[in-house]
Symmetry: C2
Subunit: 190 residues, 2 copies
DNA sequence: CTGTCCATGTAAGGCGTTACATGATTGT
DNA sequence: ACAATCATGTAACGCCTTACATGGACAG
């Protein structure tokens, strides 16, 4: 369960409340691991039961209590263990590819509309990733732990490359559909 | 719910049993929409309740009954409607990127081991995709509905491109880690 | 005679989403 | 006055996975 370990990852830097964690996710890993609020609170409760985290209730005069979670020593061990353990091959679900797979049922204009919608979405996402990426690369210039930062930022690099690839492919499918030239790329086996 | 529509997609070609459908998934779309057996049977029951499919019980002397499902006219309409409807942007979860994001906690050799494991997995998958792809491209040569086939096969083309991209990126991260040169790509905003 | 294929299902559990509920503080 | 932010949670539902259950036919 990666959410558990992502939470431990954030707590390994410093203690945080559930609310803080939600912000941390939204600011960093939401592109490859979105987490919603209620899930974070439930998972924190589980982590506490497993003694991977400890809760400290902070009473603030007049304001609601805040619960700050810290990672325990056994939580750190569990995090390290998980980080170093290869994951089994994952299943992916891409509903858009289902639409294309059965796209023969649609007219050219319907299909091209679908493709263009997806192209727009990806272009937007790409612009967003590039801007976040550039900000992060700036931050890295005067940082002490450049290696850790490099690894974190490289996940964005991946997001950019993979979306660029998807974009090019979508455009080429749209072009081939419009032109009626159903040529397929020629991949060589190795 | 894409599983529903993928099932309708297959049934739009010809009537199939639950068992046949499982095989159809495994032979074609499992790379972007794996479906397991119990889920298919449950979803068929739902589709029947919604009158998108009809069941015919085929009694075969001596052997167990077989239930063959056909798509109804309203099922066809529902399929067409769904196929032509743009999907909302999807959430993706890639646990491997979580491992890299928090990779600062690991040593170089641990991290490189992780990367190499992933590289091997992707190389395998790529070889598999390329071989399936080439078989499909052959089949397309003497087919009548080349447009439909082009769209179906293009999803494999996407699988190959995206895995090639992932592979190159993984290799370059591994190289930069080994060399200690934490340079990041220079993407230009547009 | 063991395993694989054909063929259908049920049950329980896990992870994630959506909606609901509460309430103070700060900014426009 | 109204919205946004801070802050915590519960309840219900949806989709998917894993394991279990059954049983005939056929191949090595």
């Amino acid at each position: 369960m990666s959410l558990k370990h992502a939470i431990l990852g954030f707590l390994s830097f410093k203690p945080l409340s559930g609310y803080d964690l939600k912000k941390a996710f939204d600011r960093s890993v939401r592109h490859f691991w979105p987490a919603n609020q209620s899930q974070i609170y439930r998972t924190l409760a589980e982590l506490e039961k497993e003694s991977s985290v400890e809760k400290e209730v902070v009473s603030r005069e007049e304001r609601l209590d805040m619960k700050v979670y810290s990672i325990t020593e056994s939580g750190r061990e569990e995090l390290r263990r998980w980080l170093a353990t290869p994951l089994p091959p994952q299943d992916y679900r891409e509903p858009f590819l289902i639409q294309i797979y059965f796209g023969g049922k649609l007219s050219d204009s319907e299909m091209i509309g679908l493709l263009q919608g997806e192209i727009r979405d990806i272009e937007e996402r790409l612009a967003l990733y590039v801007s976040i990426y550039r900000m992060n690369v700036e931050k890295m210039k005067d940082a002490d732990d450049r290696r850790s930062l490099f690894l974190s930022i490289s996940t964005l690099e991946y997001g950019i490359y993979s979306n660029q690839t998807a974009l090019e492919w979508l455009k080429s499918v749209a072009e081939r559909l419009s032109s009626g030239n159903f040529a397929l790329a020629d991949f060589q086996p190795r």
